[in-house]
Amino acid sequence: MLDVLAIATRNLLRYRRRTLLTLLLIVIGMVAVLLFIAVAGSFKSMMVGQITDSILGHVQVHRKGYVASIDSLPLNLNMKPQMVSKVEEALAQNPAVSSWSPRIKFGGMYSNFAETTSIRVNGVDPAREAATVPLLQGRLIEGDKNAALVERGKIVIPALLARGMKSKLGDTVVVVATNKDGSVNGKTFVVHGILEGISGPGGRDGYIHIEDARELLRMTEPEVSEIAVRLKDFARLDRDSGALRTALEGQTNKEGKPVLEVHDWSQLSPFATLARMIDMLTLFIKIMLVSIVLVAVMNVMMMAVFERIREIGTIAAIGTPPGRILSLFLAEGLMLGVVGTVSGVALSLAAIFGINVWKPTFAFGQQQNLVMAPTIAAGDVVTIAVLVIVVAVIASLQPAWKASRMDPISALRHV
């Protein structure tokens, strides 16, 4: 095998310019794909991370029918205490669950005593919310990031609202809300923090303590609008959320109808479509890479066979077995693939390192100055490398086969 590789290398070096051009194509293709995977992947991870770790959680549990009406935040579809207990019991027994946070969600009016505007409010238990959506606190652009997110009598408001209503930390404001029976109630709060807005559902919500929410809404029993769940391993989202769905959606009321519904973040956020588009684009880029390698290597190998017909005739005449002639040409494709892959991976990793040193920033919806920090998994690098090498060998197969089946007499006569 080493003999074959050594001769293949010599043959590739015979046409240096052509070999270099082919390698260049492979390298450019590899760099493009790996950089795209790294940049798009990190953007997707950042985006999904922001959505799941600062707003939605990985999975949410609602009373059946709540998500269909989620835009109106229907208080009449809150989970009753018995339901909440059952859900919490199931979550406590599930080893895949890291934490969960019950929320009361409602729409209300926010007033600074001079102006009034609408607001969507989450009533949360600050400790449980912080455990379930750990990046939420990090979105505070004003306020103490190390203190509890909210305390009784305090409110955290989104930046857009703070700007529009000229609210500052320490200001006293009023939140007025209508409960499910239609009665209106108001409660004063002190502005405790201002949150950076984030694109997507819940990205411009305010936060108060869950007990304040119950008081404001005059709840007679501790109802909950949703339970956000954080899983221990996000990579196992499909499996673990599926298990939760099976466990919770199986619970039925007296009429035998399901009372709960379980959704993962991708079913709740329109950005899941964007994430899927990124995956789709990655696939197309991979297909383009395969095409580039296939055409480039096949072209160079077809030329190699055509230009060396007499040589093939000679080696066949002196007794080189057809299989060895085949392997000689396959080895050339393999060498092109391997050298192109190694160079492409080295250049890509250098470029990724360079971007991480450079730290370019970009905007995502409301968020500005997000730092691009591309990373690539070893598995992705190996997959692309193996793909390129395999495609390079496959591209050489037809020319190599042709060479191995060549009639020595015709080949020796070739001018």
Binding site: I315, I318, P321, P322
Partner: protein, 229 residues
């Protein structure tokens, strides 16, 4: 026992709808360690006959036994194996591999066809290069040596695996007269040294006189049964 034995050997090519007979039922025998020439004008069937003896082609009819093997029974793979083990080739255009050095060209059959161990290979190649007087050119590439030197290397490559038979199709056609004679002398010397049978084709009357046995071909028919010089 003859090294090569042909009985009513015929080869017909098909060109479109027309059958073109190249060899028309010839009988001949070639003895071991002989120095044989097939002579005749272009198109007389010399190359076809050499291709048949070299197991590069199959006869249309008749039998051709090389080293007691009926070559008609050999498939593509078996024929390649047979050639690699028993037959050496010298070509009119030398046909050295341009990316390999002189040493590597001679080494090629041992490395890529017979897979000799490296040390034994090196010893054998150096012995052959010494025999053809090319030791000092071992590191050069084919484009760095003359036509005569290239043919010497080709002779060394043909002999390196100790074949019983070396076939040379017009080996001197691309060489000047003096060089051609020197190559024939070298081939004779190799025959004497290694007891290898040399069969070559030529249409040059001066060269054909160097052969010890001459078969004259005309239009695919042997005009003599092997003229001994």
């Amino acid at each position: 026992m003859s090294l090569v034995q042909a009985t009513q050997l015929a080869k017909t090519y098909r060109a479109g709808d027309i059958d073109v007979p190249a060899i028309k039922g010839v009988d001949f025998a070639i003895e071991p360690s002989s120095f044989v020439a097939f002579v005749g004008p272009s198109g007389s069937g010399k190359s076809t006959l050499l291709n048949l003896i070299g197991c590069l082609d199959h006869p249309t009819s008749g039998t051709l036994k090389v080293l007691d093997t009926d070559i008609a029974t050999l498939d593509r793979k078996a024929a390649a194996k047979f050639r690699g083990e028993h037959i050496g080739f010298v070509f009119q255009d030398f046909n050295l591999i341009p990316v390999l050095t002189v040493f590597e060209n001679v080494e090629y059959p041992l490395r890529m066809v017979q897979k000799w161990p490296a040390e034994k290979r090196r010893e054998q190649v150096m012995q052959m290069l010494e025999a053809v007087g090319m030791t000092d050119q071992a590191a050069k590439r084919p484009d760095q040596i003359s036509g005569g030197q290239k043919q010497r290397v080709a002779v060394a490559r043909a002999l390196v695996s100790n074949p019983k038979l070396v076939l040379a199709d017009e080996p001197t056609a691309n060489l000047d007269h003096d060089t051609a004679y020197r190559i024939l002398e070298l081939m004779k010397k190799m025959r004497d040294e290694f007891k290898t049978t040399f069969v070559f084709s030529t249409h040059d009357p001066k060269i054909m006189n160097e052969a010890e046995v001459t078969f004259t071909l005309e239009d695919g028919i042997l005009r003599n049964g092997g003229h001994h010089a």
